[in-house]
């Protein structure tokens, strides 16, 4: 992926890219409707739905009461009626009040009906750490990924935020779309990758990882905000003589093992950087999946860097110790690169 010429980089932030995608889909397809808290009158707490209610009216862009169980269930009913609902769970941390409708209904109905009923629902939600402590900083893609029947999409660049949201709405499968709070207000121009965001509609593939930086010593697999952190780390490490191949997963379910394994076969060293909890989640799945595919002899060294299975603490001094960011990623790469 090449860095676009400055001329082509629009002065938009990531939230605007999301709003643009939803806008274009709603415009072309009257069956797309949206439900959630503060998505209408305010345009979303991060602005990802700005302008939509004004354009499409309060019925299609519905500000709901704080009743997540009811409105996630509404999406299931709407999907059975032929609508394509987008449901916003403001922060992913709140999923504990309504996981029921997501995993027991939306995710299972296509299977439980023997394929007779589709559930084209997007569960749009914001994750990631921006300093709001234990109940407002989680990622939780590992939680959703464990439960079959849903695509789990986690973009990292402005281009993908727009294109993957469009593809998520377009998909007939239930999709969990996890934004990072720390990216939503960033300008496209501040990104090192995927800065160029076309005005018109486009779809970005929902199940392909991207090699953002080629390298030969270490395969670094990551997603969401830590993609940018990892690219920055890789640049520093290159100066130290460590060549890091940075892979942006983009999708958690399904995982693109073709891309991951091709890289690991080359480097023999696999580092997974994950802002979600480390245990029983994404990183274990990637390491195991790679070992299953290319064998333990090809995967010579593995390392995981993620939130070490503690809640996210309030104080910055504590938070910095457990949330992966550029400096800690550099340390992890150095540690892995030194093994032989």
């Amino acid at each position: 992926m090449s860095i676009a010429s400055e001329a082509a980089v629009r002065n938009v932030n990531v939230s605007q890219c999301v709003a643009e995608a939803i806008n274009l889909e709603m415009d072309r397809d009257a069956s797309v409707v949206m439900l959630g808290e503060d998505i209408g009158r305010s345009g979303g707490v991060f602005g990802t739905t700005r302008g939509l209610q004004r354009q499409f009216g309060p019925d299609r862009v519905r500000d709901t009461p704080i009743s997540e169980m009811a409105f996630t269930g509404m999406a299931v009913g709407l999907a059975m009626e032929g609508y394509r609902p987008i449901v916003e769970i403001m922060f992913v941390d709140f999923i504990g009040v309504c996981l029921e409708q997501v995993y027991n209904a939306a995710a299972k109905i296509p299977y439980m009906t023997g394929g007779a009923v589709k559930m084209p629902i997007v569960f749009k939600t914001a994750g990631g750490c921006i300093g709001s402590a234990a109940q407002h900083s989680q990622c939780l893609w590992g939680l959703f990924a464990h439960l079959p029947g849903m695509r789990i999409v986690v973009p990292s660049s402005p281009y993908d935020y727009k294109g993957m949201m469009a593809a998520a709405i377009d998909s007939d499968d239930p999709v969990v779309f996890i934004e990072h709070k720390g990216l939503l207000l960033r300008k496209a121009g501040s990104f090192a990758h995927g800065r160029e965001v076309p005005r018109e509609r486009y779809l970005a593939a929902l199940d392909r990882a991207a090699v953002l930086r080629p390298g030969s010593d270490v395969t670094l697999v990551t997603l969401s905000l830590t993609v940018g952190e990892s690219l920055a780390a890789a640049a520093v490490l290159a100066d130290e003589g460590i060549s890091v191949e940075v892979i942006d997963l983009r999708s958690v379910v399904p995982l693109d093992f073709d891309t991951i394994c091709a890289s690991v076969a080359k480097t023999g060293r696999l580092l997974v950087v994950d802002e979600d909890y480390l245990g029983f989640g994404l990183s274990g799945e990637i390491v195991t999946g790679a070992v299953e595919r290319v064998g333990t002899s090809a995967v010579r060294h593995v390392l995981r860097h993620g939130v070490p299975d503690v809640p996210v603490p309030a104080a910055l001094s504590l938070e910095q110790q457990i949330v992966p960011r550029q400096a800690s990623i550099e340390r992890a790469v150095r540690k892995l690169a030194s093994r032989s």
Binding site: V33, D59, R60, R62, T64, P65, S67, E68, M69, A70, F71, T72, G73, M74, A75, V76, G77, L78, A79, M80, E81, G82, Y83, P85, E100, Q101, N104, A105, I109, P110, Y111, M112, T113, G114, G115, A116, V117, A145, P148, G149, R151, D173, V253, P254, L255, F257, E285, T288, G289
Partner: protein, 322 residues
């Protein structure tokens, strides 16, 4: 009010009872290998729904859903076949008794208590979006009315004046917990005021009373006034599920209820005594229904189970998410 006669409703009740008995046979013979919840004793409620709903109206039911499916017009054969986990079932045997889906008839179910109303609310919202004058019926038991989704869904319906009809089948028990012990108020219908909803409690053994009240509730919701809550009282005749030892209810009371307050017998009596039905022709019709159900049961029993090789179908990743 619908044009159905008491006799029509009675015969529908007979059909429902015979259907449940066919399922019972499937449990006894271990053809149905999952758990099964039957609606025996609650037929007057389901039969009271007849005549008010079309395929444009939705009905979302619970773990105890067979009678509602029949009331919504789901054909008996694929319904029974799904309960019997056969490939000819509504869901090809993937769903089973707690997961009955008939999309063209806007009928669906869930095995999670309290989860029906949110889905029904979605159907009600679809009516609003599409400008259809249809209603969505969400069924819950007395126990399910204590789940949070009840409150959330009714409040949304009330504030948006959505055409949601909440049908509460109050059979006095949620498994082993009696209604009075789990509920702050004497009735559930009285909660309607919290949601600016129409509310009424009706004797769920009296099929005509149910029909008239349900007709009112549907009219109210359909006309755009907002949600309606109809509580129909009844009694769970059997264990919570087939196999439930049911030791927590006083046996004497249970036996007396089943003997003296069977809605089928009560309704038959009305059909004969008040309706002046000819007992002989009525018995013939009853027999014809029994024969119909027997025929379906026999055919379903001959059907094949789904092909095991398809067990990974119907998920986009086909069991290879990883």
């Amino acid at each position: 009010m619908s044009t159905l006669t008491l006799r029509d409703r009675y015969l529908a009740m007979v059909r429902m009872r015979r259907f449940e008995e066919a399922c019972l046979a499937g449990v006894a013979d271990r053809e149905i290998h999952g758990e099964v919840h039957l609606g025996i004793g609650q037929e007057a409620i389901a039969a009271g729904l007849l005549g008010y709903l079309t395929d444009e109206d939705a009905l979302v039911s619970t773990h105890r859903n067979h009678l509602h499916a029949l009331a919504k017009g789901v054909p008996m054969y694929p319904l029974m076949a799904e309960i019997f986990e056969k490939r000819t079932g509504l869901c090809g045997g993937f769903g089973g008794h707690m997961h009955i889906f008939d999309l063209p008839r806007r009928f669906s179910t869930t095995g999670i208590v309290g989860s029906t109303l949110p889905v029904a609310l979605g159907h009600a919202y679809a009516a609003r979006l599409s400008g259809r004058a249809s209603v969505a019926v969400g069924v819950t038991g007395d126990g399910g009315a204590n789940a949070g989704g009840f409150h959330e869904s009714l409040n949304i319906a009330g504030s948006l004046r959505l055409p949601l009809v909440v049908l509460i089948e109050n059979n006095e028990w949620a498994i082993s917990v009696p209604f009075e012990e789990s509920t702050a108020t004497a009735t559930l219908a009285e909660r309607a005021v919290s949601y600016r909803a129409w509310g009424k409690r009706v004797d769920g053994l009296d099929v005509l009373a149910v029909a008239s009240a349900f007709g009112e509730a549907v009219d109210y919701a359909r006309s755009g006034l907002g949600p309606a809550v109809l509580e129909a009282t009844c009694y769970r005749f059997r264990g919570h599920y087939e196999g439930d030892p049911d030791m927590y209810r006083p046996a004497g009371d249970r036996d007396a209820r089943r003997r003296d307050r069977d809605p089928l017998l009560i309704t038959r009596e009305s059909v004969v005594v008040e309706g002046g039905a000819d007992p002989v022709s009525l018995a013939q019709e009853e027999q014809a229904i029994a024969d119909e159900v027997d025929t379906v049961l026999a055919a379903v029993r001959r059907d094949l189970m789904p092909d095991g090789m398809q067990a990974r179908d119907h998920v986009f990743t086909r069991g290879t998410a990883r």
